[in-house]
């Protein structure tokens, strides 16, 4: 575990000021101000279609804000989102014809962490499936593979879209344990879910997106 989660000594953070984002020309929310840094969890809660994924993509630097600012910092100096952020989207981006091990190896090469592949697979319980093509994995196993990719990225801030969707009870405990290990080594996490925040045994900051916050804009 300590090999997969070495201590992160640099302080990383994302700060959002009066942010407004829209998708397809429709403004989803406005005036979001929040700050997240190392050793913190931000739990974004809201119903379907409220804009959770849009907010996460904004936090990854993948959408241009309508108004407001998003700033990524490492050691108090501005940096690129790609320096500090690992993003687990809702959909799996594994290629169906690659085996689980090949898929993870490819991403580990990009991040320069080839030494961690086997222990990361073991950690998410996919070692018996390492030679199975990703297309043959179940929905829950694909989520586990995505978690392994988060681990091997070795980035300080994890952004997770519905990390426990399609995952069973033991899997959920595993996700919680991984998040806890990541926070304890000095990482940060931003989690979006349609479920209210779970007790992770850690301090969790909450942000609730509500349709009501847009009342009167149209």
């Amino acid at each position: 575990m300590s090999k997969l989660f070495p201590k992160i000594n640099s302080i990383a953070g994302v700060s959002v000021d009066a942010l407004a984002l829209s998708r397809g020309g429709i403004e989803l929310f406005r005036d979001i101000t929040v700050r997240i840094a190392s050793e913190e969890i931000l739990w974004i809660h809201g119903g379907n279609g409220i804009g959770k994924t849009t907010l996460l993509e904004g936090l990854c630097g993948l959408l241009r804000p309508d108004r407001g600012r998003i700033e990524w910092r490492r050691e108090h100096a501005p940096c690129q989102p790609s320096d500090i952020i690992a993003y687990q989207p809702h959909l799996s981006f594994a290629k169906a014809v690659m085996s689980t091990h090949e898929e993870l190896t490819f991403w580990a090469k990009l991040h320069g962490t080839k030494a961690l592949i086997d222990s990361a697979l073991d950690n998410v319980g996919l070692t018996p499936k390492s030679h199975v093509p990703c297309g043959k994995l179940s929905a829950g196993q694909k989520r586990r593979l995505a978690l392994a990719k988060l681990i091997i990225s070795q980035k300080p801030i994890w952004i997770m879209d519905e990390p426990t969707a399609a995952i069973d009870k033991t899997g959920r405990d595993m996700v919680d344990a991984l998040i806890r290990a990541h926070i304890e080594r000095g990482g940060g996490a931003i989690i979006a879910s349609h479920n209210p925040a779970r007790a992770l045994g850690l301090k969790v900051r909450k942000l609730t997106l509500e349709a009501a916050s847009l009342e009167g804009t149209r």
């Binding site: 990854c60 959408l63 790609s82 014809v97 991403w107 990009l110 990225s153």
Partner: protein, 219 residues
């Protein structure tokens, strides 16, 4: 980094159940139908055969252009490439190289077989292959550029054809001139050098433009 990307693209293509061979299949069908349409008379076909081979290759490449970025865009892989901090320029270089290897090289290799249909003399076949080899980088790069600009657009395929046509016209003109001048001037013919120049222009302008287009797509 680029090497592991190219390797991955090739593995994905080989395991795709033969989908990467559609271009080659189209090339063969185009040549065969042209021979039938022209009545199979060698005297009639021989002078226009290089043009038919060039057209077959360009149409076949156009069919394959949309696939350069479509699957990586749709499943979110491109987003992850951006967040991994990888340079988008090396991504575009890798994509252009794997496109050349998977969608153009097999066609060039099969030119001698196409030449049999048209009863082409060996030196014309050879000139055809050399001119296509020299133009291949430019074809792949302009395809990459158009695919990057239109990644994620629904009707991208049609627009890619429209967008690449003007870039491919000079290649077609000089490529065919090179084939006809080869007999008199050999590989020293001016047109071969023009083709190399067009490929170099493509590399120096098209690749950075493709990287910039991808960057704009991803924010």
């Amino acid at each position: 980094m680029s090497v592991s990307l190219i390797k991955r693209d090739i593995i994905l293509a080989l395991r795709s159940g033969g989908a990467w061979l559609y271009g080659l299949f189209f090339f063969g069908v185009f040549i065969a139908l042209s021979a039938i349409a022209l009545g199979g008379s060698h005297e009639l076909m021989r002078p226009i055969a290089p043009a038919l081979i060039w057209l077959a290759l360009i149409f076949s490449a156009m069919l394959s252009f949309p696939s350069i970025f479509s699957s990586d865009f749709d499943d979110g892989t491109l987003v992850q490439f951006k967040l991994s901090g990888m340079s988008l320029l090396s991504l575009c270089i890798a994509k252009a190289i794997s496109f050349t290897m998977l969608s153009i090289l097999p066609l060039i290799i099969s030119v001698p077989i196409a030449a049999l249909f048209f009863d082409l003399p060996a030196h014309v076949t050879f000139a055809c292959m050399i001119s296509l080899c020299l133009a291949a980088p430019a074809i792949a790069i302009y395809g990459t550029l158009a695919a990057a600009i239109l990644a994620g657009r629904r009707s991208g395929g049609f627009l890619i054809v429209l967008m690449t046509t003007p870039f491919l016209v000079p290649l077609l003109i000089f490529g065919l001139e090179a084939v006809s001048d080869y007999k008199a001037e050999g590989l020293g013919a001016l047109e071969f050098r023009v083709l190399i120049g067009l490929s170099l222009i493509g590399a120096s302008v098209g690749l950075p433009a493709a990287a910039a287009a991808l960057k704009a797509q991803l924010e």
